[in-house]
């Protein structure tokens, strides 16, 4: 009997200690729940195989992503060891001490930021902007782009009708005016017995959706948030005539080209509208193109293109860097993951699996442009990206933008000028409270 008890106790002790061992050799990574996250799970299996460190994941749907993660950071939570946080969080992550500064680690491990695309390093890793303080490794390059129904464009009867009306061929629009012409051409048109519409564009009110949509137009019209020579001086820049024109144009796009009921739509709603054959165009992130492309193996149905220019070439930045959470008890393991992730061969596999690498070896490889139909567009876009404010107060800046832009574009309230003036008024309040003005 005594022997049996001894065996039982020793097995319990063994079981507990082995559980402890497994627990201490695991890390948790937080990100948004979307297609690239699945690719990252697949990729991370290699890391576990090489190091024995398990990687657990918590993926949060986009509408709740910022709420969930920023809550966690503000509460100094230990849930995550690694966080692939949105580009706009970098200011808060650095200023409030949520993210570990990675400069010493990069120097020690020989990780050079010169190996990553300059635009992505600037956008995802640095704070203050333009400095060499790194708080993240560029993890997922992304920008807002467009997909279109190539199969409809290829129909001779549609093309000749369009050409007769507008004087040029249906194809990838060279600017927003052409995009509008094409969208209105398809709006309400019956194709194969179904009524189709122009474009599924971002109109979501709750998180960042409509801002990420209107800025695609505003940037193309040459919008600047502030006076380049006088930071936070927004009057005459953010509400300049070209920005007013862009916002009016976006409203026109919503009124004349969006499918009915598309008044609170973002990533998934745009994808659904496109996949169900409702629209000729969809606005969305590059992150979704591998999924769209996968369903169109011969490339006959869908074509992709970068955000059209208007007065200048520009695109809305998406994407994220990967950071080590300062409150984690396993920072050393998390850093090991970053070291592994920064390797060129891992970055190549990341791209192959459907993630968007920012590594120059991958992007500069001769095969890159032909490796996917959207690869050239991605390269073009990443050279012209612009981001929303990355200030620590970015949520306070985002909320009035969402409200007033939605009020104008979807609700039809007031004028574009009034909407932009109101936004500036609230931004000034935010910057004043933050001591920036």
């Amino acid at each position: 009997m005594k022997n049996k008890i001894a065996i039982l106790i020793s097995s319990i002790v063994f079981a507990l200690s082995s559980t402890q061992a497994v627990k201490s050799e695991s890390i948790t990574l937080g990100w948004a729940a979307w297609d690239p996250a699945n690719a990252l799970v697949e990729l991370s299996k290699d890391f576990t195989a090489q190091t024995g460190i398990e990687v657990n994941f918590e993926f949060v749907p986009w509408p709740n992503f910022a709420d969930r993660m920023l809550n966690e950071l503000n509460n100094k939570g230990k849930t995550f060891d690694l966080l692939i946080g949105d580009s706009q969080w970098i200011g808060g992550g650095a200023t409030y001490g949520h993210y570990v500064k990675l400069n010493d680690f990069f120097d020690k491990e020989g990780i050079s930021m010169n190996d990553f695309s300059d635009a992505t390093v600037y956008a995802y890793s640095t704070w203050p902007k333009g400095s060499e303080n790194y708080y993240a490794l560029p993890a997922m390059g992304d920008a807002l782009a467009w997909a279109y129904r190539k199969d409809w464009f290829d129909r001779p009867e549609l093309n000749s009708e369009f050409k007769a009306k507008h004087g040029y061929d249906l194809g990838v629009p060279k600017n927003w005016d052409q995009l509008y012409d094409m969208c209105t051409f398809f709006q309400g048109r019956e194709i194969d017995g179904q009524v189709r519409y122009g474009a599924a564009i971002n109109t979501e009110r709750g998180s960042e959706g409509i801002t990420m949509g209107v800025t695609a137009a505003m940037y193309a019209w040459g919008m600047e948030y502030e006076n380049p020579n006088k930071p936070y001086d927004m009057e005459g820049y953010f509400n300049a005539p070209n920005v007013v024109e862009a916002l009016e144009f976006y409203r026109k796009m919503y009124e004349d080209c969006a499918p009915p009921g598309h008044s609170d739509a973002y990533m998934v709603a745009n994808l659904d509208a496109y996949k169900s054959g409702q629209v000729a165009f969809q606005m969305n992130w590059y992150a979704f193109w591998p999924g769209v492309s996968k369903e169109d193996a011969d490339g006959r149905v869908t074509g992709f293109f970068a955000n059209p220019s208007q007065k200048v070439s520009a695109a809305t930045l998406g994407g994220q860097g990967i950071s080590v959470v300062n409150y984690s008890d396993k920072k050393d393991l998390a850093l090991q993951y970053i070291k592994w992730f920064a390797q060129p061969d891992v970055q190549q596999k990341w791209w192959d699996l459907g993630g968007y690498s920012c590594h120059k070896d991958v992007l500069g490889s001769p095969d890159f442009v032909n490796s996917a139909v959207y690869a050239q567009g991605f390269l073009d876009s990443m050279g012209i990206v612009k981001d929303f404010w990355q200030e620590p107060t970015f949520v306070e800046l985002m909320l009035p933008m969402q409200e007033h832009v939605h009020d104008y574009v979807v609700n039809g309230k007031g004028s574009a000028q009034e909407a932009l003036d109101k936004i500036i008024e609230e931004w000034v309040e935010v910057f004043e409270a933050d001591g920036k003005l």
Binding site: N71, R205, G261
Partner: protein
């Protein structure tokens, strides 16, 4: 030892025993209700940001209150909330009472019908919000189809139109919570003694007179109680509306609680939002008190 305790317990007064039983509850109440309330009130006089822990917390006096009460956007949200409450309570009172009167009759399938009618209130508000977005879809939504079946209004977007969106949330809340009003009214109707109607019939009172002089006064305290509960709930309404419209289009359906959440947990303006929460609390507490007094007067009459 056991005997000693028993002996001691026997010596305690009723009041002491009552205190022993009530103390844990009181402590719990203090810890989870009163303390946060006092803390929130004290925060409301500061410039505290919960996400800027290193920043010095400054006493700002009544600045937050002055700012909130002077802000046009806040009054707009209050108006939106008041309008939402008015229409939901009115519709739920009329339809709830009507349904209760119908279900108070004895007929075959009465119980099954009651169960079916109360189903909506058993659902989660977030789920209700999500599936009504599909029902309101202008292309494939059942709601639009039914409306256009009776009269062809052409395509319309309940959620995307600033005129229709406030009605969209009123309709969903009424659909979901009318059964609650109905159930309480039904309880009130079933508590009316039959002899009152028999006496009224002897006095040759017609059906309308019986309804006005017996049914309505008897059921009114129940109806008012149901409306009190619904009023408090709708003043705090959040989840269903967020799922349905996110407060949009623009801010057409942004109720006070949604705006408060955005100020408190998205902008992290803790001091400012504490003041906002205190104002909302005082408002509902004040209205609630007046309402209860009126309700008691009606009951006494």
């Amino acid at each position: 030892m056991k005997k000693k305790i028993l002996h001691k317990a026997k010596g305690l007064s009723d009041r002491a025993v009552a205190w022993i039983f009530i103390t844990p509850t009181l402590l719990l109440l203090l810890a989870i209700n009163i303390y946060p309330l006092i803390y929130a009130v004290s925060m409301s006089f500061t410039n505290f940001y919960a996400n800027k822990l290193g920043k010095e917390i400054k006493w700002v006096g009544l600045k937050n209150y002055v700012k909130i009460l002077g802000k046009e956007a806040i009054w707009e949200r209050m108006q939106i909330t008041a309008s939402f409450m008015f229409w939901t309570l009115l519709l739920q009172a009329i339809i709830g009472l009507g349904l209760a009167l119908l279900l108070n009759k004895k007929f075959k399938g009465n119980e099954l019908l009651t169960t079916l009618i109360v189903l909506p209130m058993m659902l989660s508000p977030a789920v209700v919000g999500v599936f009504w977005t599909y029902l309101y879809n202008p292309q494939v939504g059942l709601f639009n189809y039914i409306v256009n079946f009776f009269y062809d209004f052409g395509p319309f977007d309940m959620i995307g139109s600033s005129t229709l969106a406030p009605w969209a949330i009123v309709i969903v809340d009424t659909w979901m919570w009318t059964p609650f009003t109905m159930l309480i009214c039904l309880a009130g109707l079933r508590s009316i003694p039959n002899y009152l109607y028999e006496a009224a019939e002897v006095d040759r009172a017609n059906r309308l007179q019986q309804f006005i002089y017996i049914t309505l006064p008897s059921v009114l305290p129940f109806l008012l109680l149901a409306l009190l509960f619904r009023g408090i709930e709708n003043f705090k309404m959040f989840d269903m509306v967020v799922e349905l419209t996110s407060g949009g289009p623009g801010s057409a359906t942004e109720l006070a609680s949604i705006q408060l959440k955005r100020e408190a947990f998205e902008k992290w303006k803790t001091g400012y939002s504490s003041a906002y929460a205190v104002i909302l609390f005082v408002t509902i507490f004040g209205f609630g008190n007046v309402y209860v007094k009126v309700m008691n007067k009606i009951k006494d009459r």
